[in-house]
């Protein structure tokens, strides 16, 4: 009978160890993407409240910062194109204050002033464009004016542009800032262990009760996971890839990460992953490094104060900063060929 009891206890122990602590998950659509909120170590009701707060933040900014749906940003762009000044919505003013030094440090590889270029490529639409790509002459005409954030100036609370071709588009930036705001709001609600994942770009705080948060980084060219890493504390993980928004026209693929200096989708890189404390910087940096490419990524990473960077180039080679190499674990067999960069300060 003792043995039977032991077997029974063993059975009990076995079933018990399979249970993972609960993580409450909520999801909604905003910014043209799926936003998922995972909350650990919390009552279901509080987790649901937290998710609702995050949704409110995203929906509010979605309306304020939309580059082609009628709203404050479209109004501002209309005024700038007409050569007029305008006092923008305070949230847009804050976005500009955050974006300006990042654009400068990136050498204007990240530049929210290229809305006119994004529109010419057809990415100002709720569904991806069908092509054809804009003709050379259209791109040359835009290039002749080459607007940048440096063309903007303030005068008595009003924003002006020296360049009428300047059109603001925070597509490579707004998601990061919204994530930072969402995390601030979660903290104010007393939520210390959570992930907010906006279409694959995320900020994670705290941990999952029993262990750090585990994040998988999707393979840019194959189904499944390329690499993984753990986050414990507070970090943002952003990836920009040529597979996210694109169209194909008569063969070639045209993706949405445009090089402000050529007017064309940036070439040579399939994805860039940046791990950084705040999502605002990580978002801008992922775009800037994608444009910088395998040749210039290290100087841009240094200028933007990044330590954890991974680029996957068109040949499938992983370019890693040493700090990133120490954090990441490749999940493919064999792992991709890797090239280690110089240490970033």
């Amino acid at each position: 009978m003792t043995r039977a009891l032991l077997a029974g206890l063993l059975l009990y122990a076995l079933t018990g160890c399979g249970r993972a602590p609960e993580v409450h998950q909520h999801a909604f659509f905003a910014f043209g993407t799926l936003v998922e909120v995972s909350v650990a170590d919390s009552e279901p009701r509080r987790a649901a409240e937290a998710a609702a707060t995050v949704e409110q933040v995203f929906q509010e900014y979605h309306a304020l910062w939309h580059a082609w749906h009628p709203g404050p940003l479209v109004d501002l762009n209309r005024a700038l194109a007409a050569g007029q000044g305008m006092a923008p919505d305070p949230s847009i003013r804050l976005l500009l204050e955050l974006a300006t030094p990042l654009a400068e440090r990136s050498g204007y590889r990240f530049d929210p002033a290229i809305g006119g270029l994004v529109r010419r490529w057809g990415f100002h639409a709720d569904t991806p464009p069908q092509g054809p790509p804009p003709d050379e002459e259209t791109l040359r005409a835009w290039q002749a004016h080459k607007p940048s954030l440096a063309d903007l100036y303030w005068d008595e609370g009003q924003l002006f542009s020296r360049n009428r071709a300047l059109q603001l588009d925070f597509g490579a930036f707004a998601k990061g800032h919204a994530l930072d705001q969402a995390i601030d709001r979660l903290r104010a609600l007393g939520i210390d262990n959570a992930i907010v994942n906006a279409g694959g770009d995320l900020r994670a705080i705290g941990r999952r009760a029993d262990r750090p948060w585990r994040i998988g980084i999707r393979h840019p060219r194959a189904p499944g996971v390329l690499a993984s890493l753990e986050i414990e504390g507070d970090e943002s993980l952003f990836t920009s890839g040529d597979y996210e928004r694109f169209f194909e026209y008569e063969g070639p693929r045209y993706h949405h990460i445009l090089d402000p200096f050529t007017g064309w989708p940036a070439t040579g890189i399939t994805s860039v992953t940046v791990l950084h404390r705040d999502a605002t910087t990580a978002d801008a940096a992922a775009t800037a490094l994608f444009v910088a490419g395998a040749e210039h990524w290290q100087e841009v990473a240094r200028a933007m104060g990044l330590r954890h960077v991974m680029l996957i180039d068109a040949a499938g080679v992983a370019h890693l900063s040493p700090a990133m190499a120490a954090r990441i674990r490749f999940e493919t067999d064999p792992p991709p060929p890797a090239r280690l960069g110089e240490p970033l300060p």
Binding site: T15, W213, T273
Partner: protein, 118 residues
Amino acid sequence: MTRADGVLLLVLLAGLPWLYLQFWSSAPGQQLAILTAEGPPRILPLYPDQKLRIAGTLGDSIIRIEQGRARFVASACSNKVCIQRGWIDASGETSACLPNRVSIQVLGRDARYDAMNF
């Protein structure tokens, strides 16, 4: 060992495959969440095989569930990124038709990852 002990032991041994399936085979996800712009997510098992018609904002998306995997096979979008994504079967993996506001995600009890970055 009494006869009752023997019976109990047999019953426990017979239960092992169930335990294994329940608690160790969780790397491939067991459930699928379907999210649309309207209403709460719908959660259903990744078996048996079936084809689902989900109403999105543009029209219908057709999702196929087969042998523990799921994918979009048709959707009322123009670019068909969701269909190109192919099968998903690992916990945490997602496939989305953003234009049609329909997305699917594999859920698993012991997900390998808490979130996917892409």
